[in-house]
C-alpha cells in the first residue's frame, strides 16, 4: 500500500511542474503573457550559463534572446518528453557551442562587474589574503585570470564546469542537457578541473 502511494506520488507531477506545463500549453497557443512568465522564470540561469561560456556580456545578451525566440518559434515541436527547463537549456547549450565554434578566432572578453557580496565571501577572502602568494591581487584580477583559464578549456569541458561547479547542477541533469551519459559528465568534469588547477596554480597554493 505504501509502495503504491509512493509510486503515485512519483508519477504525479509536482505543483511547479504542473504550473509550468500549463504555461507551456498557453504559450503554445500564442499567449505571450504565459511565455513572458516562462522567460522570467529561466532567463537568469540561461543568461548565466551563456555568459560563463562566452565571458562576454554582449554575446550572452544576443544568444539568450535568440534562445528564447527560437524556443518560442519551436514550441509546437516541444513534445513534453523532458521539462521545458531541460529543453530550453539544450537549445541554449547547442546555440552557445555553435557560436563558440564560429568565433574561435576572436577571444574578446567583456566581463560583468562583481557584486558587492564578493568582497564579503569568506572563501574568496581566504583565497586572497591567506592562500594566494600575491596578497595584493585584487578580486578583479582574480576574476580576469579565472576567465582566461576557463577560456582555455574545450567547449564541452567548460560547459560541464559551468553547469556543475558554478551553477550547482547535478550530474544527471547535465547529462540530459548535454545528451551524453553521466560517466562522460564526470570524466569531463575531472579533466576540466585538473586543467584549471594547473592553469590557476599560482592562485590556489
Amino acid at each position: 500500500m505504501a509502495t503504491e502511494a509512493q509510486e503515485a506520488k512519483t508519477r504525479a507531477p509536482s505543483p511547479e511542474a504542473a504550473a509550468e506545463r500549463k504555461l507551456v500549453e498557453q504559450a503554445r497557443r500564442g499567449d505571450l503573457d504565459a511565455y513572458d512568465q516562462l522567460v522570467r522564470r529561466y532567463q537568469e540561469r540561461i543568461y548565466s550559463t551563456i555568459y560563463h561560456m562566452t565571458a562576454n556580456h554582449e554575446d550572452a545578451n544576443d544568444l539568450v534572446q535568440e534562445t528564447f525566440i527560437k524556443a518560442f518559434a519551436a514550441l509546437k515541436s516541444f513534445k513534453g518528453g523532458s521539462s521545458f527547463y531541460t529543453w530550453i537549456y539544450r537549445i541554449a547549450v547547442n546555440k552557445t557551442i555553435n557560436f563558440l565554434k564560429q568565433r574561435s578566432h576572436r577571444q574578446g572578453m567583456s566581463l560583468n562587474d562583481l557584486d558587492c557580496n564578493a568582497e564579503n565571501d569568506p572563501d574568496l577572502v581566504a583565497l586572497i589574503s591567506h592562500q594566494t602568494p600575491r596578497r595584493d591581487a585584487a578580486l578583479a584580477e582574480l576574476q580576469k585570470k579565472l576567465n582566461e583559464a576557463m577560456a582555455k578549456l574545450s567547449h564541452e569541458h567548460r560547459m560541464v564546469v559551468t553547469l556543475h561547479d558554478i551553477q550547482g547542477m547535478p550530474h544527471e541533469e547535465i547529462a540530459h542537457i548535454m545528451d551524453c551519459n553521466i560517466g562522460t559528465v564526470r570524466s569531463r568534469l575531472f579533466y576540466a578541473r585538473q586543467q584549471l588547477q594547473g592553469l590557476l596554480s599560482d592562485y590556489l597554493k
Binding site: 522567460v39 522570467r40 534572446q65 565571501d121 558554478i166 568534469l189 575531472f190
Partner: protein, 158 residues
C-alpha cells in the same frame, strides 16, 4: 572520479567567484521586455521570417545547416563532394548510352560537316512533285511545313 591525489576544494572555492559576476542593474527586466517584443513581432508576421518557420518545420535541416556553418572547411568539402558526384553521374550516364548514338555530348550534337559527310556516302536522287499544298484557310490551320514537302531527296534512290 576524483583520485586521492586530487583535491579540488580550493578550485571550487575560486570558481565561486564566477557566481558574483552579475549584469548591470535592471538588465533582466529589459531582457524580458526585449524577448517579449521580438516574440510578438514573430507572432504578428510569421510570413516575414522564413528562417524561424524553417526552424520550426524542419529542425533537422537547421541542425545540418548549423553544423556546416560551424565548420566552413567541412562545408567546402561537402560542397566539392556534391559537385564531384554530379559530374561523375553525368559522365556515367553518357558512358552508359549506346556507342552508335554518338558517345559524348559533343559528339551527339550534329554538326553540318558531319551531316554532309554522312549523306554524301549515299547515292542521292532528286524527286520533284507537282502537287501544291492548298493554301491554309487561316493562320491557325497551318500545318507544319515539314509534313507536306513539295520536293525532297530520296537517298535510297527509289
Amino acid at each position: 572520479m576524483e583520485t586521492p591525489g586530487e583535491n579540488f576544494d580550493s578550485l571550487q572555492r575560486l570558481l565561486k567567484l564566477k557566481r558574483h559576476e552579475v549584469p548591470p542593474p535592471g538588465y533582466f527586466d529589459r531582457l524580458a521586455r526585449d524577448i517579449r517584443a521580438r516574440a510578438r513581432a514573430t507572432q504578428a508576421q510569421p510570413g516575414l521570417d522564413p528562417l524561424i518557420r524553417l526552424k520550426t518545420e524542419a529542425p533537422w535541416l537547421m541542425r545540418v545547416w548549423e553544423s556546416l556553418a560551424a565548420r566552413p572547411a567541412f562545408a567546402g568539402f561537402v560542397g566539392a563532394s556534391a559537385c564531384a558526384a554530379v559530374i561523375a553521374m553525368m559522365a556515367l550516364s553518357e558512358k552508359s548510352t549506346p556507342s552508335g548514338s554518338g558517345g559524348t555530348l559533343a559528339e551527339t550534337l550534329v554538326s553540318p560537316a558531319g551531316l554532309i559527310a554522312a549523306e554524301s556516302s549515299r547515292p542521292l536522287r532528286l524527286t520533284v512533285s507537282n502537287e501544291v499544298a492548298p493554301p491554309p484557310k487561316n493562320l491557325f490551320e497551318m500545318t507544319p511545313s515539314g509534313q507536306t514537302l513539295p520536293a525532297g531527296f530520296n537517298p535510297a534512290g527509289h
